[in-house]
Every structure is written in C-alpha cells, then in structure tokens.
C-alpha cells in the first residue's frame, strides 16, 4: 500500500490529493479524519494527521472547528496547476533518460509521441 521511498504521511497526503484531483472528494466535501485514515490504512493516527496538515498548509483542505476538515474551494485547480509544474520532472526526465540509454533520438521520440494512440 505504501512504498518505502517517502514518508507515509506524505503518501497519505498524496492519496487525498488524488481524490480531490479526480473529483472523488469534491470541493466543499468533508475529508476523511486522521482517525478514519489511521484505521483504514492501519497506521498511527499521528502519521495520518501529519499528512492532512500538509494539505491544510497547502490550502487544499481547511479545518472547521469541531466538525472536521473540508476540501477548500479552488483546491482542484490548485492541484492541477502544481501537477503541471511537476510534470516534466516526474514524467519527462525518466523517459528522456531511458530514450538516451536505448539510442532513441529526440526526433524519434517526438514521432512516437505524435503516433501514440489516445487512451480511451
């Protein structure tokens, strides 16, 4: 469920982000609590809370005293914007490295990209 390369709280934050991004958690809806996340993933509640706090700091969630945490207005756009900025480093860099290793030129790569079928 978790990989070891990054702290678990970070991965908890990512999973919630994923749900905000794809609309599973719409803006204005209540996010899972740290205890719910802890029980679901069988992790320490403090770890889950740390993950949620990352999202509060990033402006994706906000706290409502005594009720819980909610997805902020504009959270989806915020995440989309951030993901676009990270896109090159996350996806293109490894592709370019592997292409170089296999002797695929930039032109061939561009052609492959244009010929690639759109996924359904």
């Amino acid at each position: 469920m978790f990989d070891e390369s990054r702290p678990i709280f970070f991965q908890i934050a990512e999973q919630v982000e994923e749900q905000v991004l794809d609309g599973t958690l719409p803006e204005g809806s209540r996010a899972p609590s740290s205890n719910e996340l802890a029980a679901f993933h069988r992790i320490n509640p403090a770890t889950a809370a740390k993950g949620l706090n990352l999202l509060v700091d990033a402006g994706i969630l906000h706290k409502q005293r005594g009720i819980g945490m909610f997805v902020s207005t504009g959270a989806q756009d915020l995440l989309r914007h951030r993901r676009r900025e990270d896109f090159a480093a996350t996806y293109l860099t490894p592709v370019l490295a592997e292409a170089a290793r296999l002797g695929i030129t930039r032109e061939q790569l561009a052609q492959m990209l244009l010929n690639a079928k759109e996924e359904a």
Partner: protein, 300 residues
C-alpha cells in the same frame, strides 16, 4: 506547553553478576516518552527490552538511575501503579485460574476497565473463557494478554512481544482494535516486538536497544527510508554514494550493490536514476537490521 511525560528514564541501569563478571542488562538509558503516543521498543533478543519494561513498571529494582511514570517513581506508590499495565511475554497465573478469572481480576485492578470491549475482544480472538489458563495454547495465552492490555485502557501500557503464537488473523484483530481504541482513548503504549515490519506503520516513535544501550530514539518517519540500497555499475554506484556512510557492499562482476546510510530524494534521486542506478529505500525492519549490524562492526 510542557506536560509531564508518561515515562522518563534517567540514566537507568540494571547490572547483575554472571560467573564473576558484571553484566549490564540495561546500561545508562535516558529518554522521555510523551503522553498519547505509540512507541516501538525494538532490539534483538537479550537487548534489554523486557528489563526496561520491568524497571519502568516497578517489577524490578534498577542498579542505578530512575524511571518516573507521570513524574513519579512507581515503587509502592499506588496512584502511579494504577496508571500502569504491563502485559508480559510469559505472564504467570495461579494454577487453577480459568480465563474468566484472570479477566475478572483485571476488571478489579484497572480503573478504566471496559468490560464490553473485553467481551468483544474475547469473541474476536476466540478465547475460551472457561478453560484453565494452564491448558491454553501459546497463542491463546497471548490473546489473554491482549484482552487485558487493551481493555484495561491504562494510561501507560506495555506489551512485551504481545503476538507470540498468534495467527495472522488474530494479529490483525490486535492491530485494528489497538488503533481504533487508541483513537477514541489516547494513551501511551509501548510495543516491544521483533516483527518490525508488521508493527512499523502503527508506531509513531522508535526506541532501539542494543546490548542494554539505547542506540536509536527517533520518530518512525525519520528512521524509515533512512537507509538506501543502490544497485548498478560499480563506478556509477560509488559516485552516487558520495560520502554517505556505507553499511554493506556486495559485488557481482562490474555490478555493485551498496547500502548507505542516507535518504535519497529530489535531485540526488533523479541523478542516481539518470545513471541507471536502482535506488531501493530500506523498510523499517531492514533499516534496523543494518544499523544494528553497523554497531556490531564498530564494536569489533
């Protein structure tokens, strides 16, 4: 905002004589355990885990130093003893005791005892309450300890290898109920364990003992992934390792597998991967094993 720690160990030592030599079961251990957290007490057999728990719960006397439970030593101090629950690895019960007798005693001894919760755990762990404890299997004996340890809701609870003999299903029941109940009734829990990978995600903080000494005292998040294995062409691997401390090395022709004490992320990770180096962060268990072995080498 300082609250009294749940447990404070001050230069705690336990020495005894063995064939004329003085052996330290626990050697000058100082640390502080905060309230409302789950701690992992890790270490190899004989590292001093059980000794530490016995001293903290006033079941044995230290040779020097002291253990303060909520600011007070527990020896013959009823209010402090009332905050403690120690589930021993091999708890002894009176010969004619049935499971229900042990649970009844626990219900009298622990002021926060939750009988409904205990009954639910008994059912889930399939514990025969009218069987004599002497006749129980190792797993069932562990289950008795788990019921008592969880349903007692003591402010400071120690579990010493709580899952011995338990099957995978019963162990999951334990972890699930522990987290669920901890969320509703936060308290300080110390789990001693050598099944590290299994408890890793449940722990907030890790204490590692080695030959009676406390060699690691850190948040689990910091420990996890703090050791990384690099795999690839020897020169590239050595470059990527840079000046990080090397914990293990294996060579196979032109390929090297190097385990270093470092966390790879961001630019360092990207650079290593660009050189076709496999970067594998260690699990908490692997990290502990590597750190323990590093200690052994340093001693040798």
């Amino acid at each position: 905002m300082t609250t009294t720690p749940a447990l404070e160990l001050r230069s705690l030592s336990k020495r005894y004589r063995k064939r004329g030599n003085v052996v330290a079961a626990l050697d000058d251990v100082s640390t502080t355990l905060q309230e409302g957290r789950i701690y992992g007490l890790l270490g190899r057999n004989g590292a001093g885990k059980s000794t530490l728990m016995s001293l903290a719960t006033a079941q044995a006397f230290p040779t020097s130093g002291e253990a303060l439970v909520f600011g007070h030593t527990a020896y013959e101090h009823r209010p402090t003893l009332a905050t403690l629950c120690f589930v021993k690895e091999s708890q002894k019960y009176p010969d004619d005791f049935e499971v229900r007798h042990a649970l009844h005693c626990a219900s009298l001894a622990f002021r926060h005892w939750d009988a409904d919760f205990a009954a639910r755990l008994v059912t889930e762990l399939r514990l025969p309450t009218d069987r004599r404890i002497k006749k129980l299997s190792r797993g069932q004996l562990s289950a008795v300890g788990i019921v008592i340890g969880l349903a007692s809701r003591a402010e400071l609870t120690f579990f010493d290898e709580p899952y011995l003999g338990l099957d995978a299903v019963a162990r999951q029941v334990f972890y699930d109920r522990l987290l669920e109940d901890f969320a509703e009734h936060p308290r300080t829990i110390v789990l001693s364990s050598h099944l590290i990978d299994e408890v890793a995600d449940v722990l907030e903080h890790v204490l590692l003992l080695e030959d009676g000494r406390l060699v690691l005292d850190a948040p689990a998040d910091e420990v996890r992934g703090g050791v990384t294995t690099l795999h690839g062409p020897t020169r590239a691997v050595l470059d990527a390792a840079g000046s990080h401390e090397v914990l293990a090395r294996k060579d196979l022709g032109p390929v090297t597998q190097l385990t270093v004490k470092a966390r790879y992320s961001g630019a360092e990770l990207a650079a290593a991967e660009a050189q076709s180096i496999g970067v594998e962060p260690a699990t908490l268990q692997q990290t502990i094993v590597f750190l323990t072995r590093a200690g052994e080498r340093a001693d040798a």
